[in-house]
C-alpha cells in the first residue's frame, strides 16, 4: 500500500481585502473536500511580511503556490473555480 501524496500549499494574501479572504476561504473548502488528511496550508500576509513574499517570488495577491508534490504550481486569483483549480494542481475532479 502506497502512502497518499502530501500537498503543501502557500497562500500569499493582502490582509483582510476581499479577494484575499475569498481565496483563503475557497482554498480551505477545496482542501477539506479533496485533500482531506494530506495537506498543509501556510498563509503569508504580504502587508505584514513583504520580504518573505519577495523572496518567494510572490509579486501579486492573492497567489497560491503548490510546492509539493512537484512540479511547483502558481495560481493567481480568488480560486473560485474548483474544477480548474484541481486540474491545475494535478488532480482531476472525481465524478460520481
Amino acid at each position: 500500500m502506497t502512502a497518499l501524496p502530501q500537498f503543501r500549499f502557500r497562500l500569499y494574501l493582502a490582509g483582510t481585502t476581499e479577494n484575499s479572504q475569498l481565496a483563503r476561504a475557497n482554498l480551505t473548502a477545496l482542501c477539506r473536500e479533496h485533500f482531506a488528511g494530506q495537506y498543509t496550508i501556510e498563509v503569508i500576509n504580504v502587508l505584514v511580511d513583504p520580504l518573505r513574499a519577495q523572496r518567494d517570488g510572490a509579486f501579486i495577491t492573492p497567489m497560491l503556490v503548490k510546492h509539493d508534490p512537484t512540479p511547483v504550481v502558481r495560481i493567481i486569483g480568488t480560486l473560485n473555480d474548483p474544477e480548474l483549480l484541481l486540474r491545475s494542481l494535478g488532480r482531476e475532479p472525481v465524478v460520481l
Partner: protein, 696 residues
C-alpha cells in the same frame, strides 16, 4: 513642484497613464480577482479597489461604534457647522432639546443654540458660549443641564471637546442622558443622610474601628457620651485604651480570635473607663466586617450603658440577702418568743405566789427585767424581719421629730450642734408613731457615733417631695406621687462603699463590741419597708452621711383614738376554754386567768376543743385559741366552733403578726387577737373586752 511648462510634465503624465493602464490590464487579466502587487523593492501596493474596500470597512466600523454609544454625538467644524453626527443625534425619540432632527448636518449648531428660545434657552445659550470658547482654543467644556421631557424632567451632560483635524480646528459635541445617574446619586445621598442620622441619633453607642489596631475610625454622639469623651478625643484612641484594666485581657484575647477568624461576633458585659476615671458598665456587641477573600479590616461595636441596671441588680441582691436573713432571724425569734412568754408568765405567777417579804421577790423582779430586755431584742428582730405588723395611723411627723430631737439633744454632748428644719407643708403619713420614734433615735445615735470625739452638726429636716421619674428610678420601692421626706444628716466620718453596701444587714456593725448590736439600721430598714417607704443613703468618707427617709403621704388625716387603761379588769368566774398545743403555755394561761378571777379549761388539741364545745355549746364564755397548731389552725377551729355556736366569743393568740392581721380577725367576726408575749395586764384587758362585747 514641477512648473507646468517643464518638459518632464509630459513624462509624468505618461507614467501616470502607464500606471493606470497597468492596473486596468492587471484587473482584466486576473478578472478582478487580485488586490495587491509587490513592487521591485518587495513593497506591497494595494490596488485601488482594495484600498476603497478597506477605507469603507474602517468607516463602517467607526460609525457602528459611534452609533452604539448611548449619547448624541456631532462633529463641528471651526465655524460651528455640523459636519457629521451619529444616529443617536437625529433619532426622533432624542429627548434633549439641544439635539435631534432640527440640528441637521451642515446647519450651524452654535448659531442655532444661541438663537433658541423657550424653557431651554438658558442651557442652549450656555452651550453656545462654551462651544465658541472651545472653537477659539479653550480646553474641553462641560456642563449639566435640565430640560423638560414629556411629563418629567431629564438631566443631560454636555461636553464640547476641541478637535484638530487636518490642521483645521473643530469640536466634538456630546450630550449624555444622566437622569438615572443623578437620581441614583441623589438616592445615595439621601440614603447616606438617613444612615448618618440613624448613626448620629441612635440611642445606643456605635463605633467603627480598625480591626487590627482597634483605633476608632468613626463614633456616634452616644458612644462619646458613654465613654465620657468627645468624638475628636476618641479618634486618637483605641478600644484597648478605654477598656477597664480588669476586662482588658479578655478583650484582647477575643479580638485576636476575631482577627484569625475563629469568631465573627461577640456580646458581653464589661467596663469602659471614662475620661474622668470612672468605670461605666456596658453591654457591647463587636462584629468584624469581612471583605471578600481578605482579612478583616474593620470592626463595629454597638454599646449600651448598663451602669444603672448593674446598680439596680446590686440593690436587689442586697434586698434579697436582707430578706433571707430576716426570714431566718424571724423564725428563730418567733420560737424564742414563746419561750420568753413562758418564762415571763411563770415568773409573774411566782411573784403572786411568794409572800411579800420574801427575798425571792427581788430575784424574780430581776428575772422579769431580763425577760423584758430579751423581749425587746426579739421585738427588734421581728421588726427588721417585718414580722411585726406596725400599728399604723394617720400621723403628723413634725411632733414626733420634735420629741425625738429633744431627747437626742438631752443625751448627746454639746460638741454637736443641732439643727432642725421642718417644712410647714410636710404631708401627713400613715405610720406607727413608736416605730418612727425608734427610727429617729437609731439614726440620731448613729450620727452621734459618727461624730464622736469631734465637733459636728446634726441636721434633721422634714419636707414634702414629689417623687418624679429620676427619683423612682433611683429608689424602685417608691411610686410616682407625694412623700414626706425625713432626713438625718451628720458631718461625721462617713462610710466607705464597702460599708455602705452592708449597713442594713442585721448584726453588721462598725462599732466596738458592746457599743452596738448591729440591729439599729436593720430595724430602720424593716420599719421603712413595712411603711411602704424607702431609704436613700449618701455618704462621703471624711465629709459625712445623710439618710433620706421617704414616707408615702396620705391625703386625709384621721385623729388617733386615745385609750387610757388604769388597772387590770377582773373576771366574775366566767368559763374560758384555752386551746394551745404547747402544754406549758396552756398551763401558764390557765394559772394567769384563774388568778384574774376566771374559770379555765384547757385543750392541747383543736379536735378535743371542738368536742368539748360540741358537748355543751353554751358552756363557755370565751375560747382563747393559739393560731398555729398541728392539724388545724386557730382560724379553722374558729370556723368550726361558729358552726356549733354562732355567737361564741373567740379570741386568737399568736406570736406571729405576719400570719394574721387585726383586719382579718375582725372580718372573721372574732373578738380580738392577742400578740405574744403579752403582760397579765394586756391579757386581762383583752379577755375582759372580748367577753363584754355584745354578741353577734
Amino acid at each position: 513642484m514641477t512648473p507646468n511648462d517643464s518638459p518632464s510634465l509630459e513624462e509624468i503624465a505618461a507614467l501616470v497613464a502607464m500606471m493606470s493602464e497597468a492596473e486596468r490590464r492587471l484587473e482584466e487579466l486576473t478578472e478582478g480577482q487580485t488586490d495587491s502587487v509587490l513592487n521591485a523593492e518587495g513593497q506591497p501596493i494595494l490596488l485601488r479597489r482594495a484600498q476603497e474596500q478597506l477605507r469603507l470597512r474602517e468607516a463602517d466600523q467607526q460609525a457602528a461604534i459611534l452609533n452604539a454609544l448611548p449619547a448624541h454625538i456631532a462633529l463641528l467644524d471651526a465655524e460651528g457647522r455640523i459636519v457629521a453626527h451619529n444616529e443617536g443625534w437625529s433619532r426622533s425619540e432624542a429627548p434633549s432639546v439641544l439635539t435631534g432632527a432640527s440640528f441637521p448636518v451642515n446647519s450651524n449648531y452654535v448659531d442655532a443654540c444661541a438663537r433658541l428660545h423657550g424653557t431651554a434657552a438658558a442651557a442652549a445659550h450656555k452651550a453656545a458660549r462654551g462651544i465658541r470658547a472651545v472653537l477659539a482654543g479653550e480646553p474641553t467644556f462641560t456642563f449639566e443641564y435640565r430640560c423638560r421631557v414629556g411629563a418629567g424632567d431629564a438631566w443631560f451632560l454636555m461636553t464640547a471637546t476641541p478637535l484638530s483635524r487636518n490642521g483645521a480646528r473643530g469640536a466634538v459635541i456630546m450630550h449624555l442622558d444622566i437622569t438615572a445617574r443623578r437620581k441614583a446619586l441623589r438616592d445615595l445621598r439621601a440614603s447616606e443622610e438617613r444612615f448618618k442620622a440613624l448613626f448620629d441619633q441612635a440611642a445606643v453607642g456605635v463605633a467603627l474601628a480598625d480591626a487590627t489596631t482597634g483605633r476608632f475610625i468613626q463614633v456616634n454622639r452616644r458612644f462619646a457620651d458613654i465613654t465620657g469623651r468627645s468624638p475628636e478625643e476618641l479618634m486618637g484612641l483605641a478600644f484597648a485604651e478605654i477598656t477597664h484594666a480588669e476586662d482588658l485581657d479578655r478583650y484582647l484575647e477575643t479580638m485576636q480570635q476575631m482577627r484569625t477568624g475563629d469568631i465573627r461576633e461577640f456580646t458581653r458585659e464589661q467596663r469602659y473607663l471614662r475620661k474622668d476615671g470612672a468605670a461605666v458598665w456596658v453591654d457591647v456587641t463587636v462584629s468584624v466586617m469581612w471583605e471578600p477573600t481578605e482579612a478583616p479590616s474593620q470592626c463595629s461595636a454597638v454599646v449600651q450603658d448598663i451602669t444603672g441596671r448593674k446598680q439596680l441588680e446590686e440593690r436587689i441582691r442586697q434586698a434579697q440577702k436582707l430578706d433571707a436573713i430576716g426570714t431566718l432571724a424571724g423564725g428563730i425569734a418567733h420560737d424564742f418568743n414563746n419561750i420568753l412568754a413562758a418564762i415571763g408568765g411563770y415568773t409573774e405567777l411566782a411573784r403572786i405566789a411568794v409572800s411579800e417579804n420574801s427575798s425571792a421577790l427581788e430575784d424574780l423582779a430581776a428575772v422579769l427585767q431580763a425577760v423584758r430586755r430579751a423581749t425587746d431584742l426579739v421585738r427588734q428582730i421581728l421588726t427588721f424581719s417585718r414580722q411585726q405588723a406596725p400599728e399604723r395611723k394617720a400621723v403628723e411627723l413634725a411632733p414626733l421629730v420634735h420629741e425625738a430631737f429633744s431627747l437626742l439633744r438631752a443625751t448627746i454632748p454639746s460638741t454637736i450642734d443641732f439643727d432642725m428644719q421642718i417644712a410647714p407643708d410636710a404631708p401627713t403619713v400613715l405610720a406607727d408613731a413608736s416605730q418612727i420614734h425608734q427610727v429617729l433615735m437609731n439614726l440620731g445615735t448613729n450620727a452621734w457615733h459618727a461624730m464622736r470625739g469631734q465637733a459636728g452638726r446634726m441636721t434633721v429636716t422634714l419636707d414634702r417631695v414629689v417623687a418624679d421619674v429620676p427619683l423612682v428610678t433611683q429608689l424602685p420601692k417608691l411610686r410616682l406621687g407625694t412623700y414626706a421626706r425625713l432626713s438625718v444628716r451628720d458631718t461625721g466620718s462617713g462610710m466607705s462603699e464597702d460599708t455602705l453596701r452592708r449597713i442594713f444587714e442585721p448584726f453588721f456593725t462598725t462599732k466596738k463590741q458592746g457599743d452596738g448590736t448591729g440591729l439599729g439600721l436593720a430595724v430602720v430598714h424593716g420599719i421603712m419597708d413595712t411603711h411602704g417607704g424607702a431609704i436613700a443613703v449618701d455618704s462621703t468618707v471624711g465629709v459625712g452621711t445623710v439618710f433620706d427617709l421617704y414616707f408615702p403621704a396620705i391625703t386625709t388625716a384621721a385623729p388617733a383614738a386615745a385609750v387610757v387603761v388604769t388597772e387590770t379588769p377582773r373576771g366574775g368566774g366566767e368559763l374560758i376554754l384555752v386551746v394551745d398545743d404547747e402544754v406549758v403555755l396552756a398551763r401558764m394561761m390557765m394559772h394567769v386567768l384563774t388568778a384574774l378571777g376566771y374559770a379555765v379549761e384547757t385543750a392541747n388539741d383543736p379536735s378535743v376543743a371542738l368536742e368539748l364545745v360540741r358537748a355543751d355549746p353554751s358552756h363557755f364564755s370565751l375560747v382563747l385559741t393559739d393560731l398555729t397548731m398541728p392539724g388545724m389552725t386557730g382560724l379553722d377551729l374558729a370556723d368550726h366552733l361558729r358552726e356549733l355556736r354562732p355567737d361564741l366569743p373567740i379570741m386568737l393568740v399568736t406570736g406571729n403578726t405576719d400570719t394574721v392581721t387585726a383586719n382579718e380577725v375582725a372580718a372573721k367576726g372574732l373578738q380580738g387577737v392577742l400578740y405574744k408575749p403579752a403582760t397579765i395586764h394586756e391579757l386581762g384587758c383583752a379577755v375582759h373586752a372580748a367577753i363584754a362585747q355584745p354578741r353577734r
